[in-house]
Protein backbone atom coordinates (compact mmCIF):
# COMPACT_ATOMS: atom_id res chain seq x y z
CA UNK A 1 0.00 0.00 0.00
CA UNK A 2 1.50 3.41 -0.92
CA UNK A 3 2.20 5.85 1.93
CA UNK A 4 -0.57 8.32 2.62
CA UNK A 5 0.66 11.66 1.21
CA UNK A 6 -1.03 13.50 4.08
CA UNK A 7 1.19 11.85 6.61
CA UNK A 8 4.38 13.80 7.21
CA UNK A 9 5.93 11.84 10.04
CA UNK A 10 9.71 12.00 10.09
CA UNK A 11 9.91 15.41 8.45
CA UNK A 12 11.16 18.64 10.04
CA UNK A 13 8.88 21.66 10.62
CA UNK A 14 10.63 23.48 7.77
CA UNK A 15 10.10 20.54 5.41
CA UNK A 16 6.43 20.40 6.38
CA UNK A 17 5.94 24.08 5.62
CA UNK A 18 7.75 23.64 2.30
CA UNK A 19 5.38 20.79 1.43
CA UNK A 20 2.42 22.92 2.47
CA UNK A 21 3.60 25.66 0.09
CA UNK A 22 3.82 23.11 -2.73
CA UNK A 23 0.35 21.77 -1.97
CA UNK A 24 -1.16 25.27 -1.79
CA UNK A 25 0.42 26.34 -5.09
CA UNK A 26 -0.77 23.20 -6.83
CA UNK A 27 -4.29 23.52 -5.40
CA UNK A 28 -4.39 27.18 -6.47
CA UNK A 29 -3.33 26.31 -10.02
CA UNK A 30 -6.05 23.69 -10.28
CA UNK A 31 -8.65 26.05 -8.86
CA UNK A 32 -7.68 28.88 -11.22
CA UNK A 33 -7.61 26.50 -14.19
CA UNK A 34 -11.12 25.31 -13.35
CA UNK A 35 -12.34 28.88 -13.03
CA UNK A 36 -10.75 29.87 -16.34
CA UNK A 37 -12.37 26.90 -18.04
CA UNK A 38 -15.76 27.85 -16.66
CA UNK A 39 -15.47 31.59 -17.31
CA UNK A 40 -13.80 31.43 -20.70
CA UNK A 41 -10.85 33.58 -21.81
CA UNK A 42 -12.59 36.90 -21.17
CA UNK A 43 -14.04 36.14 -17.73
CA UNK A 44 -12.90 38.11 -14.69
CA UNK A 45 -10.96 35.43 -12.88
CA UNK A 46 -9.88 37.66 -10.02
CA UNK A 47 -13.48 38.55 -9.25
CA UNK A 48 -14.43 34.88 -9.45
CA UNK A 49 -11.61 33.99 -7.08
CA UNK A 50 -12.74 36.67 -4.59
CA UNK A 51 -16.31 35.33 -4.78
CA UNK A 52 -15.07 31.79 -4.18
CA UNK A 53 -12.91 32.93 -1.26
CA UNK A 54 -15.84 34.78 0.35
CA UNK A 55 -17.90 31.58 0.17
CA UNK A 56 -15.08 29.61 1.80
CA UNK A 57 -14.84 32.15 4.61
CA UNK A 58 -18.62 32.06 5.15
CA UNK A 59 -18.29 28.37 5.97
CA UNK A 60 -15.19 29.05 8.06
CA UNK A 61 -17.03 31.70 10.10
CA UNK A 62 -19.61 29.13 11.13
CA UNK A 63 -16.84 26.82 12.32
CA UNK A 64 -15.18 29.54 14.40
CA UNK A 65 -18.52 30.46 15.96
CA UNK A 66 -19.20 26.80 16.72
CA UNK A 67 -15.81 26.32 18.40
CA UNK A 68 -16.28 29.41 20.54
CA UNK A 69 -19.90 28.80 21.48
CA UNK A 70 -19.31 25.11 22.30
CA UNK A 71 -16.39 26.10 24.53
CA UNK A 72 -18.68 28.57 26.26
CA UNK A 73 -21.59 26.18 26.72
CA UNK A 74 -19.26 23.52 28.14
CA UNK A 75 -17.92 26.09 30.58
CA UNK A 76 -21.48 26.89 31.65
CA UNK A 77 -22.44 23.24 32.15
CA UNK A 78 -19.22 22.60 34.08
CA UNK A 79 -20.32 25.34 36.46
CA UNK A 80 -23.94 24.27 36.59
CA UNK A 81 -25.04 26.98 34.12
Amino acid sequence: MPPDPKLLSGTTPAQRIAMWFDLMRTADKLLLAGMRHRLGPDGDIQEEYRRWYAEQMCEHDKVVERIMSRSRSSQESAHGG
Binding site: P5, K6, L7, L8, S9, T11, T12, P13, A14, R16, I17, M19, W20, F21, L23, M24, R25, A27, D28, Q46, Y49, R50, Y53, Q56, M57, H60, D61, V63, V64, E65, R66, I67, M68, S69, R70, S71, R72, S74, Q75, S77, A78
Partner: protein, 196 residues
Amino acid sequence: MAAEAVQATLERAWNILNELKVPAALMGGLALVQWGRLRVTQDVDLLISLDDVRDRAVLARLAAAGYRSKGRTPVVRLEDVAFIQLLYEPPQSFVDIQIDLLLATSPFHKEALSRRVALPANALGFEAFVVSCEDLIVLKLLAGRILDRVDVADLLRINRASLDFGYLAGWVQHHHLERAFADAWNDAFPGDQPPL
Protein backbone atom coordinates in the same frame (compact mmCIF):
# COMPACT_ATOMS: atom_id res chain seq x y z
CA MET B 1 -0.73 33.19 -4.67
CA ALA B 2 -2.62 31.73 -1.71
CA ALA B 3 0.30 30.30 0.26
CA GLU B 4 2.36 33.47 0.03
CA ALA B 5 -0.68 35.61 0.86
CA VAL B 6 -1.57 33.51 3.90
CA GLN B 7 2.02 33.57 5.12
CA ALA B 8 2.31 37.34 4.65
CA THR B 9 -0.95 37.89 6.52
CA LEU B 10 0.27 35.73 9.37
CA GLU B 11 3.79 37.15 9.57
CA ARG B 12 2.75 40.79 9.76
CA ALA B 13 0.11 40.15 12.41
CA TRP B 14 2.44 37.85 14.34
CA ASN B 15 5.16 40.49 14.46
CA ILE B 16 2.70 43.07 15.80
CA LEU B 17 1.39 40.70 18.48
CA ASN B 18 4.96 39.83 19.36
CA GLU B 19 5.94 43.49 19.71
CA LEU B 20 2.95 44.06 21.99
CA LYS B 21 3.86 40.92 23.96
CA VAL B 22 0.52 39.27 23.23
CA PRO B 23 0.87 35.48 23.63
CA ALA B 24 -0.38 33.72 20.50
CA ALA B 25 -0.48 30.28 18.92
CA LEU B 26 -1.38 29.05 15.46
CA MET B 27 -4.46 26.83 15.56
CA GLY B 28 -5.67 26.39 11.98
CA GLY B 29 -4.36 24.58 8.95
CA LEU B 30 -0.78 25.60 9.61
CA ALA B 31 -0.98 23.98 13.05
CA LEU B 32 -2.27 20.81 11.39
CA VAL B 33 0.74 20.82 9.09
CA GLN B 34 3.09 21.00 12.05
CA TRP B 35 1.45 17.96 13.60
CA GLY B 36 1.79 15.98 10.39
CA ARG B 37 -1.53 16.52 8.60
CA LEU B 38 -1.05 18.27 5.28
CA ARG B 39 -3.98 20.05 3.73
CA VAL B 40 -4.84 23.37 2.14
CA THR B 41 -5.85 26.32 4.28
CA GLN B 42 -7.06 29.68 3.06
CA ASP B 43 -6.88 31.81 6.18
CA VAL B 44 -5.07 32.42 9.46
CA ASP B 45 -6.43 31.35 12.85
CA LEU B 46 -4.67 32.38 16.02
CA LEU B 47 -5.46 31.81 19.66
CA ILE B 48 -4.37 34.88 21.60
CA SER B 49 -4.45 36.24 25.11
CA LEU B 50 -5.28 39.87 25.67
CA ASP B 51 -5.23 39.63 29.45
CA ASP B 52 -2.30 41.96 29.83
CA VAL B 53 -2.75 44.27 26.88
CA ARG B 54 -5.75 46.38 26.06
CA ASP B 55 -7.45 45.05 22.95
CA ARG B 56 -7.83 48.59 21.61
CA ALA B 57 -4.05 48.96 21.39
CA VAL B 58 -3.76 45.71 19.45
CA LEU B 59 -6.58 46.63 17.11
CA ALA B 60 -5.09 50.08 16.53
CA ARG B 61 -1.71 48.61 15.61
CA LEU B 62 -3.27 46.03 13.31
CA ALA B 63 -5.44 48.69 11.67
CA ALA B 64 -2.40 50.90 11.09
CA ALA B 65 -0.71 47.93 9.39
CA GLY B 66 -3.61 47.46 6.97
CA TYR B 67 -5.82 44.95 8.79
CA ARG B 68 -9.44 46.00 8.63
CA SER B 69 -12.59 44.69 10.23
CA LYS B 70 -14.53 42.08 8.28
CA GLY B 71 -17.83 43.05 9.85
CA ARG B 72 -19.19 46.27 11.29
CA THR B 73 -16.91 45.86 14.29
CA PRO B 74 -13.73 43.79 14.53
CA VAL B 75 -14.72 42.06 17.75
CA VAL B 76 -17.41 39.40 17.42
CA ARG B 77 -18.98 38.61 20.79
CA LEU B 78 -20.94 35.47 21.62
CA GLU B 79 -22.08 36.29 25.14
CA ASP B 80 -18.97 35.73 27.30
CA VAL B 81 -16.59 34.63 24.53
CA ALA B 82 -15.25 36.71 21.67
CA PHE B 83 -13.02 36.69 18.65
CA ILE B 84 -11.54 39.33 16.37
CA GLN B 85 -12.17 38.97 12.65
CA LEU B 86 -10.01 40.94 10.22
CA LEU B 87 -9.10 41.07 6.54
CA TYR B 88 -5.71 41.90 5.10
CA GLU B 89 -4.63 42.37 1.50
CA PRO B 90 -0.99 41.38 1.19
CA PRO B 91 1.19 42.97 -1.49
CA GLN B 92 0.75 41.37 -4.94
CA SER B 93 -2.48 39.71 -3.83
CA PHE B 94 -5.89 40.32 -5.38
CA VAL B 95 -7.82 38.84 -2.49
CA ASP B 96 -8.17 39.90 1.14
CA ILE B 97 -7.00 37.13 3.45
CA GLN B 98 -9.06 36.54 6.56
CA ILE B 99 -7.44 36.33 9.97
CA ASP B 100 -9.34 35.27 13.08
CA LEU B 101 -7.94 35.98 16.53
CA LEU B 102 -9.74 33.83 19.08
CA LEU B 103 -9.53 35.33 22.53
CA ALA B 104 -8.41 32.80 25.11
CA THR B 105 -10.93 33.46 27.85
CA SER B 106 -12.25 29.95 28.57
CA PRO B 107 -10.23 27.64 30.87
CA PHE B 108 -9.54 25.34 27.91
CA HIS B 109 -8.32 28.11 25.64
CA LYS B 110 -6.13 29.52 28.41
CA GLU B 111 -4.54 26.17 29.06
CA ALA B 112 -4.09 25.53 25.34
CA LEU B 113 -2.22 28.80 25.03
CA SER B 114 -0.04 27.99 28.03
CA ARG B 115 0.94 24.66 26.39
CA ARG B 116 1.80 26.12 22.98
CA VAL B 117 4.80 24.65 21.21
CA ALA B 118 7.58 26.69 19.59
CA LEU B 119 8.34 26.35 15.90
CA PRO B 120 11.90 26.89 14.75
CA ALA B 121 12.44 30.18 12.93
CA ASN B 122 13.39 28.39 9.72
CA ALA B 123 9.93 26.84 9.40
CA LEU B 124 7.89 29.94 8.60
CA GLY B 125 10.74 32.43 8.34
CA PHE B 126 10.08 33.79 11.84
CA GLU B 127 9.66 32.33 15.31
CA ALA B 128 6.10 31.23 15.97
CA PHE B 129 4.10 28.92 18.19
CA VAL B 130 1.41 26.33 17.49
CA VAL B 131 -1.14 24.80 19.84
CA SER B 132 -0.17 21.34 21.07
CA CYS B 133 -1.44 18.31 19.20
CA GLU B 134 -3.78 17.40 22.09
CA ASP B 135 -5.31 20.89 22.08
CA LEU B 136 -5.61 20.89 18.30
CA ILE B 137 -7.52 17.60 18.54
CA VAL B 138 -9.96 19.13 21.06
CA LEU B 139 -10.40 22.23 18.85
CA LYS B 140 -11.12 19.99 15.85
CA LEU B 141 -13.63 17.94 17.83
CA LEU B 142 -15.34 21.18 18.87
CA ALA B 143 -15.50 22.28 15.21
CA GLY B 144 -17.32 19.05 14.50
CA ARG B 145 -17.38 18.81 10.67
CA ILE B 146 -16.64 15.61 8.75
CA LEU B 147 -13.39 17.24 7.61
CA ASP B 148 -12.46 17.90 11.24
CA ARG B 149 -13.12 14.26 12.11
CA VAL B 150 -10.78 13.22 9.29
CA ASP B 151 -8.19 15.69 10.65
CA VAL B 152 -8.51 14.17 14.14
CA ALA B 153 -8.17 10.62 12.83
CA ASP B 154 -4.99 11.57 10.99
CA LEU B 155 -3.59 13.44 14.00
CA LEU B 156 -4.23 10.36 16.14
CA ARG B 157 -2.58 8.04 13.62
CA ILE B 158 0.49 10.21 13.24
CA ASN B 159 0.98 11.28 16.84
CA ARG B 160 -0.39 8.32 18.84
CA ALA B 161 2.94 7.47 20.47
CA SER B 162 3.52 10.98 21.82
CA LEU B 163 0.03 12.09 22.83
CA ASP B 164 -0.81 12.82 26.47
CA PHE B 165 -4.07 10.87 26.64
CA GLY B 166 -4.66 11.83 30.27
CA TYR B 167 -4.66 15.51 29.38
CA LEU B 168 -6.74 14.87 26.26
CA ALA B 169 -9.33 12.91 28.26
CA GLY B 170 -9.84 15.81 30.65
CA TRP B 171 -10.86 18.30 27.96
CA VAL B 172 -12.76 15.74 25.87
CA GLN B 173 -14.90 14.95 28.92
CA HIS B 174 -15.18 18.61 29.91
CA HIS B 175 -16.62 19.43 26.49
CA HIS B 176 -18.75 16.24 26.29
CA LEU B 177 -16.86 15.11 23.18
CA GLU B 178 -16.48 11.43 24.11
CA ARG B 179 -18.65 10.19 21.22
CA ALA B 180 -16.91 12.39 18.64
CA PHE B 181 -13.52 11.26 19.93
CA ALA B 182 -14.53 7.59 19.82
CA ASP B 183 -15.73 7.97 16.21
CA ALA B 184 -12.45 9.57 15.13
CA TRP B 185 -10.49 6.94 17.04
CA ASN B 186 -12.42 4.19 15.28
CA ASP B 187 -11.64 5.82 11.93
CA ALA B 188 -7.95 5.87 12.84
CA PHE B 189 -7.71 2.44 14.49
CA PRO B 190 -10.71 0.27 13.57
CA GLY B 191 -11.36 -2.38 16.18
CA ASP B 192 -8.93 -0.85 18.66
CA GLN B 193 -10.49 0.21 21.98
CA PRO B 194 -10.38 4.01 22.52
CA PRO B 195 -8.01 4.96 25.35
CA LEU B 196 -10.44 7.50 26.85
